[in-house]
Point group: C3
Chain length 139, copies 3
């Protein structure tokens, strides 16, 4: 019978970087006992976001961070800077990458490709604690 589970994950970040959460998410999915369904990963912030990316080469993550800095630079002449120069760039990076992911679940696991990992991206310079809501519906 169709059912659902919902949970909030707390993710500690150490400033501007990608934090892999694939293992935590997969473990939670497995724990629900739902074999086939739809997983939603949702970031409850406007200066951190989510992406699915290469989980093998470490340099990919560094390149992503530097690319985001280039696309939404601190010296962009932004009107909004209430919390410092990394404030508005963090919002823009979050708009670009997005805060929600929809991932089918099959055989009790997120149907990710071989090289895909789920990442929370911290866009602020200082460490933060971020909330990620996990929702799974299926049977």
């Amino acid at each position: 019978m169709m059912r659902q589970s919902i949970e909030t994950l707390s993710v500690a970040t150490s400033g501007r970087t990608l934090v892999e959460i694939t293992r935590d998410v997969a473990a939670w999915v497995e724990g629900t006992g739902i074999a086939t369904g739809l997983l939603t990963v949702f970031c409850r912030h406007t200066s951190a976001s989510l992406t699915i990316q290469e989980n093998a080469a470490q340099e990919v993550r560094g390149d992503i961070v530097r690319w985001l800095d280039r696309i939404a630079p601190e010296d962009g002449g932004w009107m909004h800077d209430d919390e410092g120069p990394d404030d508005m760039p963090a919002h823009l990076k979050s708009v670009l990458t997005g805060v929600s992911l929809a991932i089918p679940v099959s055989n009790g696991r997120p149907a990710l490709g071989t090289w895909q990992g789920i990442y929370l991206i911290e866009h602020r310079s200082r460490p933060h604690r971020r909330e990620v809501v996990l929702h799974l519906i299926g049977e």
Copy 2:
């Protein structure tokens, strides 16, 4: 018992800007009587899109619009300009920001963070009427 609701929201825009629809979406979710579930917000256009962003500081919205103009400028030398210089930039901004949002629902409300609002972004210069489909599954 698991059930679903679907509805189309009509959103009036006044040219290139962000229109907050959080209240309308939350009111509809509450009206369905579904306490826990998955909300999907879907924009049926290719020159308008959706984002979740800061709902407090007004300047954030202006900065987002100016940043999108910079990333997809009208003088970008685009091949496609059937509907004027803001035509192709509108499509590109829509590709960048996306047209669908997946948001878990908990206690009868979208599980947004304190500072998160749901926005329709109008990318065309002239006012438009935009259709946003809301879908909710849960119980």
Copy 3:
């Protein structure tokens, strides 16, 4: 009664381009017999991605490819280039456009707007075979 279907689509690409998959996706949705529900389209790769865009004007697709090349250029000084100069730009374009789409289904069809088509974007220069997972829940 609420039920779900899941399927993997194989999409052949001919290098850096947009491949429309709307027809294949809609045919699969119709075949499930589910009239109202939520469709998820998920790309199992980190150098290809998904977008919903204009299905009428052919030039739009060319402009999108050129715009992505400009935003994530091959000569960007990336650290990661294990598979050649188009490797890291492909990852960045995939971060920007995203790998999952959530689309409500109504009357047995994806509730797309008149001008919306579903596209797989190949970001690598060489042809590839890509896996796209389709999931539908509803009744």
